[in-house]
Amino acid sequence: MKRRKELKKASPYIFISPWIIGFIVFTAGPLILSLIMSFYDWPVTSEATFTGLGNYVKMFTEDAQFWKSLKLTLKYAAIFVPLNLGIALFLAMLITQPVRGVKIYRTIFYIPAVISSVATAIIWGWILNGDYGVLNYLLSLIGIEGPNWLVDPAWALMAIVLTSAFGVGTMMLIFYTDIKNIPIDLYEAASLDGANSVKQFFSITLPIITPTILFNVITSIINAFQQLTLVMLLTGGGPLKSTYFYGMYTYDNAFKHHKLGYASANAWVMFVIILILTAFIFRSSSAWVFYEAEVKGQKTGKRRKNK
């Protein structure tokens, strides 16, 4: 009987034990190890030597590429995040319109989001090709001479933005399900009051989905900072390092130049920047995010609880 009681007490921990073990071995352990490594000069082949803050000092003061890659990534995020958010919201509004066959469009819009970035990079590398790419051919039909997207440093960043916007479906779907959940009577009441659809969007839809916007802003900033596969396969960081993003800079330091300690320091700086940006957005959110519980007082906390 006693044993049974003990088992009962232990059982929740048994249930969550896979995650706890995984967390220690694959997340917490590596996280701590990475922080320790960032204070070392840690080549792959020879002994590691402790250098204190050496890696960080070097990064901030001597390594011009660090600043270039960081600026480039911030620039990319500054273009990509609002653009992606805007497109996702626009598409979500489109597929929530009450017209027949709209579900087929929803499927089509989402398909590019389920294919591998490797495939996306190949498809767009081919479409954007300056010699035989079909995009420039189509542009030439309307009298525009397209740039040499992937070879011209002035356009390569835009090529990456264009390509990554192809996978907007995930975010669209998150907006879509949120907009779908808005009670229809809110719109009916508004249209009785004579509000047109533009006004309804700004006075009903937009305020209600602000928590989702917050969520999407944060996840897309994190994604923008980690962008690696597309640049690796589409431009290889070039031309002239014009798309040498921070993720690729870190990756190369680790696996190409085998400076594991330095690359760990790079990664931690990225982590801290993401945390600061996230904290900043969260702090600003009280000014522009409205939670249902505050507005209507009903359905209390349902939305808030897990935020």
Partner: protein
């Protein structure tokens, strides 16, 4: 809500324009995969191939051991999916249906791990796997999945939180223990969520490039995504074989998505609340 005829027309035009933008690259790629190389880079380009050359696919497939890559991808995908479904349902059940010390803190930690950029853990993970002698095997790609993934656990926990308490109380009176309740009562209830996790995982793992890139070295271990990327490296001047393999690579996730999209759409609606 009533929609006037005029605005309906505008909506359809917009929907169609966007659909063309998303679909055109695939359609054009599909047709081009059947063309001759000279035809593919001809100017002005044509949409349909002059002759439908099925041989292109066989040639591309045999240019590298793609059958091996394909087999590895299937192994990794199936192996991780089984692991995720089992471990995430267990862990989510633990978090959702019990009260225990440290629960809230542990759950906060779980959520926080989703914020950690992969760049921070990739180097030490590489070293951990190296010390396990797992590098250049499929193990680092499969085994971690058996310990759950924060996002999937979160999705499933949200679902389980909404199920009334009576479910396990009735079973407990009948003398069932926690594991029997989990396995016999909750696994069937969780079915849509299990399918959701399985589908999301299949798509993610099938498409993953960076994991295989870091952990695998020999061609005999490559997955399809890694094989395709390396194929791109050596075949940069020939576009047709590359497009053929790309077509093959994207078919499984697209079909799975179309079949299971109901679960993805419904699952997304519960996820961020």
């Amino acid at each position: 809500m009533k929609t006037s005829r005029k605005s309906k027309v505008i909506i359809y035009i917009l929907l169609t324009v966007v659909a063309v933008y998303f679909l055109a690259p695939f359609v054009y790629m599909f047709f081009t995969a059947f063309k001759k190389e000279a035809e593919a880079i001809a100017y002005p380009p044509s949409l349909l191939p002059e002759n439908w050359s099925w041989q292109n696919f066989a040639d591309a497939w045999n240019a590298q051991p793609f059958a091996v890559y394909f087999k590895n991808s299937v192994l990794v995908t199936v192996g991780t999916t089984l692991g995720q479904v089992l471990s995430c349902s267990l862990v989510a059940y633990g978090f959702a249906r019990f009260q225990f010390r440290g629960k809230n803190i542990l759950f906060m930690i779980l959520l926080a791990t989703m914020m950690i950029p992969w760049d921070v853990t990739m180097i030490p993970q590489y070293m951990v796997f190296k010390s396990f002698n797992w590098i250049n095997t499929l193990k680092p790609l499969i085994i971690p999945a058996w310990f759950g993934s924060a996002y999937y656990i979160f999705l499933m926990r949200q679902f389980l939180m909404g199920i009334p308490k009576d479910y396990e109380e009735a079973a407990r009176i009948d003398g069932a223990n926690a594991f029997q309740i989990y396995w016999k009562i909750f696994m069937p209830i969780m079915r849509p969520q299990l399918i959701l996790i399985a589908v999301l995982n299949v798509i993610t793992v099938w498409n993953d490039y960076l994991g295989p890139l870091i952990f695998l070295q020999d061609r005999s271990k490559y997955t399809l995504a890694l094989g395709l990327a390396s194929f791109k490296g050596v075949h940069s001047t020939q576009i047709i074989p590359l497009l053929c393999i790309t077509v093959i690579m994207i078919i499984p996730p697209v079909i799975i998505f179309i079949v299971a999209q109901k679960y993805i759409v419904e699952g997304t609606s519960g996820s961020i609340k």
